[in-house]
């Protein structure tokens, strides 16, 4: 239906929800096929061991087992790694099945194919592995000593070193009036998509045509890379991402199981399916974070930040997955935060360990960076005796509407940081809280109030292909969109992004609806199938709206241009006489002489009388490669009560003011912030992958790995009033998928430290478990007691 109503900026209800909330969604575990077999992997109970033998005979004789295969039985190439960030990076070879050594808990040595899932799992347990155990190294600094090598052929565990190269006068880090040096450790996190991974491979053996249905964020990248791994010709390989139950970066990868399912389906000529178990997910799907930073802030006594320097150790895990060493580097461009220092230094060393490979986890490098800057700024403020708000205000880069080069060297599209801080301070009632805090401290209450700030920027919308190329990333950063205007007035949109919870079907429909003068209900958005939407680079790095959404904008413009030609022909006027407005092309000054897009689509379909040189059908495809990243920013403030006797933290208030440029759908943006903050709170207070001394994952189920529930996640107050348009794309959009996870952890930790800082506590690491907080208080009191005694003596 043609309409003059506008939808951008409206909280349009999500088009994708009816099937999701009525149980009719099509997740991978719902897929079944005649003759389908099940796959299960034999992951031996070793962390680090030389494989002496794999005996598959017992497993092969078990009920329902069709075959048991080891690496030697399958012709699969090495798994893809696409981001060799330096020329001299050492790259561990990574096969779907290990044949020489087991290098972490998730390494598999054999794969079983059976008639049922239960039979496959039972038989995988019966695969007998004889192995010689080697010492396991999990701790980064231990691994860096190279006493135990994970990959003998590489000769070292320190596999990559990347340096930003620095900017400004580096002597400031020695000569500044105030030099703050801190070390912050950020534990490994497990991404925990509600739906674990899973895949189904099937095909037409006689034609060597194969389809992989996989719970993935990146069907297009999976297709290109697995064509190489399996030897299936790319034009004969189709990858479908069905409804995907969350990813958070853990499905931004190409995994052993996907290659195995395709390889086995091809070998056996039958469909092969695999569904990951949760414990398997905890060891075999990528982890996030796992970094240690040595940080230096150079500043003045009155609070000016002169220099920021960070030297990072980053845990790669046992192998690289798709992007592994690129993740810390992504953070390397934002360690100045929204501030404007004169000097900057960042470098990191990537170290392999006997643990699950790390890779992108919601925020990917930017949360790690934001956490350490924001901790450091608070520490600086405490050191010089100033309010953290005052110090931030003194250092925030002033508002800018045109792209401006940051000290890290990249162009930041636009920003207005102080405005978001002011709004957040007002919403949280900062001065009143500080007064309450003083009162509680004077009374010596058991529960003490803490206020934590996080003013952040991030870099998202991956992004310009030429910059990605310069950073040695193997793929591009463009995305594609196709619009097909159907003869009945409806519109089909094909996007190269691959949503898995983000709401693209709705947001994209809003963009097209406004562009073509129809309603979102008239539009169907197709995605996640390389056959239907061959042009795509998928969904990650908060890129979808600023790249895929922008591509859609250009497709809309192309459709409108073709429609204009047809309208002019039908109205018997020159194209120059037509204006677009009120949802139609109409003659300037004569709005009743008009053609709507549905009308023109019908004409273009029957094609009875098209202008010369115009092809039938009203459609267009656009591929967009943005000139820059986008750079959202904002201010989060967390207010906590800490029980000083038990160390328990309760979040009593949380305010998030995020500026992600033009907002297409404020309800969806709010949802992204809510989810992101929940995950950030999880990171700050609950979640941590813990290993025992032998390198086994202790937090191996959801009983021990503490994903918070609705009870623990606070009420979040959001504010979308700041919308500084991006200068990178015509929509002015930035990205919001990761902002919450980037901003929240330091806000929460700063609040916890603030609550007990009057007791002498200056540092508490993530996650701030009750015991960590309790211990920090105990230690501080112990030290004060000692210094008190010293003073008396």
């Amino acid at each position: 239906m043609a309409t003059t109503e506008t939808f951008i900026g409206q909280p349009v209800l999500r088009k994708e929800d009816p099937e999701l909330i009525t149980g009719q969604a099509n997740y991978i575990d719902n897929w079944t096929m005649p003759g389908m077999l099940w796959m299960a992997l034999a992951r031996p109970p070793y962390v680090h061991a030389t494989i002496d033998g794999v005996d598959t005979s017992e497993a092969a004789s078990m009920p329902g087992v069709v075959g048991v295969f080891t690496a030697a039985d399958l012709e699969l190439g090495a798994l893809p790694f696409v981001w060799p960030i330096t020329e001299d990076i050492k790259v561990p070879v990574h096969y779907a099945l290990a044949s020489d050594k087991v290098r972490f808990n998730g390494d598999a040595v054999a794969v079983v194919v059976a008639e049922t899932r239960e039979q496959a799992i039972d038989a995988a347990e019966a695969v007998a592995v004889t192995a010689t155990e080697l010492p396991a190294v999990i701790e980064l600094e231990q691994a860096a000593k190279d006493e135990v090598l994970i990959h003998d052929d590489l000769g070292t565990n320190s596999v990559v070193h990347w340096s930003h190269g620095g900017a400004g006068d580096q002597s400031i880090f020695d000569s500044a009036p105030v030099v703050v040096q801190e070390r912050y450790a950020q534990p490994r996190l497990i991404p925990n998509a509600i739906e674990p991974r899973g895949c189904l491979a099937y095909g037409v053996p006689a034609m060597d045509e194969w389809t992989l249905v996989s719970s993935t964020q990146i069907p297009h990248i999976v297709k290109v890379t697995l064509s190489g791994v399996t030897g299936i010709e790319e034009q004969k390989l189709r990858v479908i991402a069905p409804d995907v139950g969350g990813g958070f970066g853990s499905k931004l990868n190409v995994y052993a199981e996907e290659a195995l399912a395709l390889g086995l389906a091809r070998k056996l000529g039958r469909p092969v399916k695999w569904i990951e178990g949760r414990r398997e997910n905890y060891v075999a799907t990528t982890h996030g974070r796992g970094v240690i930073h040595d940080c230096t802030l150079a500043g003045t006594e009155d609070g000016k930040i002169l220099g920021l320097k960070f030297v990072e150790l980053a845990d790669m895990g046992a192998y690289y997955q798709l992007l592994t060493p690129g993740i810390p580097e992504l953070g390397g461009w934002v360690y100045m935060g929204p501030y404007d220092p004169e000097a900057y230094w960042y470098e990191f060393t990537g170290i392999v360990t006997n643990s699950t490979p790390t890779d992108a986890y919601r925020g990917a490098g930017r949360p790690e960076a934001t956490y350490v800057i924001e901790r450091l700024v608070d520490t600086f403020a405490r050191r010089i005796g100033k309010d953290p708000v005052e110090v931030r205000r003194m250092n925030l880069k002033p508002a800018f509407a045109e792209a401006s080069t940051a000290i890290s060297g990249l162009n930041v599209d636009s920003g207005n940081y102080e405005a978001t801080l002011d709004t957040a301070l007002g919403l949280v009632e900062y001065d009143k809280l500080r007064a309450q805090q003083r009162d509680a401290r004077e009374r010596g209450d058991t529960k003490q109030l803490g206020i934590g700030l996080s003013t952040y920027i991030e870099m998202c919308g991956l992004a310009p292909s030429n910059i990605l190329g310069a950073l040695r990333y193997a793929a591009g950063g463009w995305d594609g969109a196709t619009i097909e205007c159907l003869p009945t007035g409806k519109v089909l949109v094909k996007t190269g992004t691959s949503p898995h919870g983000q709401g693209h079907e709705t947001t994209w429909a809003q963009i097209v609806a406004d562009g073509l003068g129809v309603t979102p209900d008239d539009i169907e958005v197709l995605h996640g199938d390389t056959l239907i939407t061959p042009l795509g680079m998928d969904t990650y790095g908060s890129r979808s709206v600023s790249v895929g959404g922008a591509a859609l904008h250009f497709a809309v413009e192309k459709v409108k241009a073709k429609a204009r030609t047809i309208a002019a022909h039908e109205l018997e006027v020159s194209e120059d006489d037509l204006e677009w407005g009120e949802g139609s092309w109409h003659v300037a000054g004569a709005p009743d002489k008009a053609k709507t897009i549905p009308e023109i689509a019908f004409s273009a379909w029957h094609a009875h009388s098209l202008p010369e040189g115009t092809e039938p059908h009203l459609n267009a495809t656009a591929v967009y490669d943005p000139p820059n990243f986008t750079w959202p920013g904002g201010a989060h403030i967390c207010v906590v009560e800490v029980d000083t006797e038990t160390g328990a933290t309760e979040i009593v208030k949380y305010v998030a003011v995020d500026d992600c440029g033009t907002v297409i759908n404020p309800m969806i943006v709010d949802g992204q912030i809510h989810g992101g903050v929940a995950q950030g709170v999880a990171e700050a207070l609950y979640e941590e992958a813990i290993y025992d001394e032998s390198g086994n994952l202790t937090t191996s189920t959801m009983t021990q790995y503490l994903v918070p529930t609705a009870v623990e996640v606070p009420t979040i107050t959001t504010d979308g009033s700041h919308q500084t348009p991006s200068t990178t794309n015509p929509l002015g959009v930035k990205g919001i998928g990761e902002a919450g996870t980037i901003a929240a952890p330091p806000a929460v930790i700063n609040a916890v430290i603030d609550a007990v800082s009057h007791l002498g506590v200056t540092a508490i690491e993530k996650p701030a478990s009750p015991e960590r907080v309790w211990r920090a208080i105990q230690d501080a009191q112990h030290q004060q007691g000692q210094s008190g005694q010293g003073g008396a003596a």
Binding site: D122, R279, T646, Y686, T699, T709, P770, E771
Partner: protein, 272 residues
């Protein structure tokens, strides 16, 4: 994960359950299943057979008896939590039933299942220990009563024989003050440490959750209270005789410190 293969039999009487247990050494009773089934999925427990007593609705009741309260072993947490009668007669049981696990667990899990499972981190064994409950076990030769002090001999061990069925739990009426201090990381988690305090006979019974291999009475605290100590002083002896675990939820040292804070808070509430 997927459990190892197992047999299954649903029985319609306690006698049939006993018979089924006697017929198969590897058989286990299935009540609410919310402790047993997760262990089976992780293959920590691999019973050869599950004897399902979940439909023996005769064993689900709360009634006043002999000056106390008799609770059928198959009464679910949700029914305990919602019982006005129990809130009058033994309010700590009703309240704590509402703090176990999450709503799904409370709609399936039973009080008898919790006792038989004898998890030292379970809330209900600890509360029943503080109350000095009596446990009625039914076997081939009839019923016997087991005192609370004898019910929890070891880690995940109850005093029930392999072929006995726990049928009833008796607790005294508690008209005085009480408190259950449950310290958790997340709402649905087991207690890192829990403390039950019940005012009885002019003093208080105090027990500890997750402070050792079994639920424990805080003997030192009770002794101090009997000797006239105030709550804060008595609480200093909270961890006497305990052997708290060290795990990812808390070290032994932290649990000892936590137990003192929680005992003090429990006593302050129960004795207020």
């Amino acid at each position: 994960m997927i459990p190892a293969a197992f047999g299954y039999e649903r029985v319609d009487s306690v006698e049939a359950a006993i018979g089924a247990l006697q017929a198969d050494d590897g058989a286990k009773l299935l009540a609410g299943g919310h402790s047993l089934l997760p262990q089976m999925k992780l293959r920590f427990a691999m019973p050869t057979k599950l004897v399902d007593i979940g439909r023996l609705r005769d064993l689900s009741y709360i009634r006043e008896a002999d000056g106390g309260v008799a609770i059928g072993a198959l009464t679910r947490y949700h029914d305990l939590e919602g019982s006005d009668e129990l809130r009058q007669l033994a309010p700590i049981v009703a309240s704590v039933a509402g703090q176990v696990g999450d709503p799904q667990v409370r709609h399936m899990g039973t009080i008898g299942g919790a006792v038989a499972h004898s998890d030292p981190a379970g809330d209900m064994p600890s509360v029943l220990l503080a109350l000095g409950a009596t446990f009625v076990a039914t076997g081939l030769s009839g019923t016997r009563e087991i005192a609370a002090a004898d019910m929890f001999p070891g880690l995940f061990q109850s005093a029930l024989a392999n072929d006995e069925v726990l049928t009833e739990i008796r607790v005294p009426k508690t008209s005085g003050g009480w408190s259950y201090q449950k310290f958790t990381r997340r709402a649905q988690d087991w207690a890192v440490v829990g403390v039950a305090a019940v005012r009885m006979n002019g003093s208080a019974n105090v027990s500890l959750t997750n402070m050792g291999l079994t639920p424990l009475r805080a003997g030192g605290v009770e002794e101090a209270l009997a000797g006239g100590a105030d709550p804060a002083t008595a609480a200093e002896r909270a961890d006497e005789g305990s052997a708290p675990p060290s795990d990812s939820f808390g070290s032994e040292e932290y649990r000892r410190a936590l137990s003192k804070v929680l005992v003090r808070r429990a006593l302050e509430e129960a004795l207020a």
